[in-house]
């Protein structure tokens, strides 16, 4: 079954064609990065306007790249849950128009479920059950994946998302936006033990996260050094901060894997592209004899291919949406 996926939940306008939930024929992502840099983050109204401008072009490009027309499409999957409401509705309005005009099934997908399926798309052999850490600028969640489309939330962030902490620290240090890739690159030149930052909640019994204390600690240290006229080794700060985030993410994920007795973990979302975080996961998992899976780099950040894959899985279970499909900016992942 050839599925057209559409994703507009935040700052990427994306469309993709995926066959049978596993073969990506095209994956087009129009990023609003230029706007984000200009405004230092996502401005919902500006992002929604840009989605409206781009949505037609992105869908056409996805069809042309795959050498297909809308007549070849057998169903449309679209992010309808979790994200900025004004952004989500552009994708859903487009998807239901195609569904109605072509008389093909429509399926609304939860954005987080899309991220989980980024790993399924990258690794058809991904075992279930496993523990999944999905981590980006918008969320940080640990899930027990019983099988495709059946999840249990184990823990979530109580304040900032991990990616948000990267962005805020980068902004504070006067670095570029988004902060993740910039800090990742800068950190390769710094010492991971140059500063000792806290690992918030790493010993707590819950599987929840908190990153605001770490952020405050970095900022306070920076201000102290400024006040004392001491040198500000940005690469060291970046490396030590990133190491603290990696330790917390890996520590919590390992605890979840042990509690649930699984031999595999998957990491997904924008932060899963971070090279040091991948490295710490690989080292730790090797020691503990646990398999670890990451999506292809192109599937880490928001993309429509993962939405098409998740939509296909839902449709295989007999789920479809009707033309009254609405958007829900904040709902838990069901199933």
């Amino acid at each position: 079954m050839l599925v057209l996926g559409i994703e507009t939940s935040c700052d990427e306008t994306s469309a993709a064609l995926v066959a049978d939930g596993e073969t990506i024929l095209s994956s087009i992502i129009a990023t609003q990065l230029d706007l984000l840099r200009k405004y230092g983050g996502v401005v919902p109204e500006i992002a929604a306007r840009r989605h409206t401008e781009l949505i037609g072009y992105v869908i056409k490009e996805a069809l042309d790249t795959a050498g297909k027309t809308l007549d070849d499409i057998e169903s449309v999957a679209v992010t309808s849950k979790q994200g900025l409401i004004g952004c989500l509705l552009v994708g859903v309005a487009a998807a239901k128009s195609i569904s109605y005009a072509k008389q093909i099934p429509l399926i609304g997908v939860h954005h987080i479920e899309g991220h989980i399926f980024a790993n399924r798309l990258s690794h058809p052999d991904l075992p279930v059950p496993h523990v999944c850490l999905t981590v980006s600028g918008g969320h940080t969640m640990l899930l027990y994946v019983e099988n495709d489309c059946k999840y249990e939330l184990l823990g979530t962030t109580l304040d900032d998302a991990a990616g948000e902490a990267f962005d805020k620290i980068a902004k504070f240090l006067g670095l570029d936006f988004p902060g993740g890739p910039v800090i990742d690159k800068l950190a390769t030149k710094g010492g991971i033990k140059a500063f000792s930052f806290p690992r918030p909640m790493i010993r707590s019994k819950t599987l929840d996260f908190s990153f605001s204390g770490l952020k405050t600690s970095v900022i306070n240290m920076f201000k102290d050094r400024v006040a004392r006229n001491e040198a500000l080794p940005l690469a060291d700060i970046a490396a030590s901060f990133q190491e603290a985030v990696a330790d917390v993410l890996v520590g919590k994920t390992m605890r979840a894997a042990e509690e649930r007795g699984v031999a595999a973990v998957s990491v997904t979302g924008g932060v899963s592209a971070n090279s040091r975080i991948r490295e710490v996961f690989r080292e730790t998992c090797r020691r503990k004899n646990i398999d670890v899976f990451f999506p292809k780099l192109s599937l880490c950040t928001d993309n429509a291919a993962m939405i098409a894959a998740a939509g296909y899985a839902r449709m295989k279970m007999g789920e479809v949406s009707d033309l009254r499909l609405n958007v829900f900016p904040n709902v838990p992942l069901e199933g």
Partner: protein, 231 residues
Amino acid sequence: MMVLGIDTSGYANAVGLVDDEKVLADSTYAAKTDSLEQIVANIDSTLKSAGLALKDVGGIGVGLGPGSWTGIRVGVTVGKILAFSTGKPVAGVPTLQALAYGARHESSLICAVISVGTGDAVYAALYRPENNAVRRIGEYYVGDVKGLTALLTGPAVLVGNGSQAYTRIVKQESGMNIKAVEATPGGAAVACLAEQRLELGEKDDVLSLTPLYLKESTAKAFVNKYKSSHT
């Protein structure tokens, strides 16, 4: 040419069907905050009520706004993606023009007014009726309703949702002879104006069609102001 017209710029989904200026359907569905949820189903029931299907339509007209920013994004996206999916031509119509078109049989000038949604601010434009059409005179207006006195030079009808209240304010300010016509933008009016454009060969590009916001988002306006005062 049979044209489907849609407008979701206000607190209703307007859907109309015309064929050679003959109105086949003109429906208004209440949709306070659920334009997105209802619009495609509204289009379907309007078509069915006329015994038609989407494939029978020759072109699509869409109200571009101004109005609710969320609302016009829904309408414009649905209009252009329906056109893209069916290969039919699309024509955008300013919602203020569709409002004025509804009052085209008036003999005086027509001032179409739409609430911005905050305080007494309005979007407005002045139109002259001209053989079954309306032509805009001057620029679009965005500002306090009292400022409409500068737009109006003589007798006029003020058409829009809430026009009674606007008329009272304008009369108080200027003492001018203004008549109020209470109306919301109609789907058939959008369809008629789109049909006129399409028959003149003035179709819009289906991919690049965008709403007529008439106002920058607050964030952008702030950044621009900041920049201009620092250069």
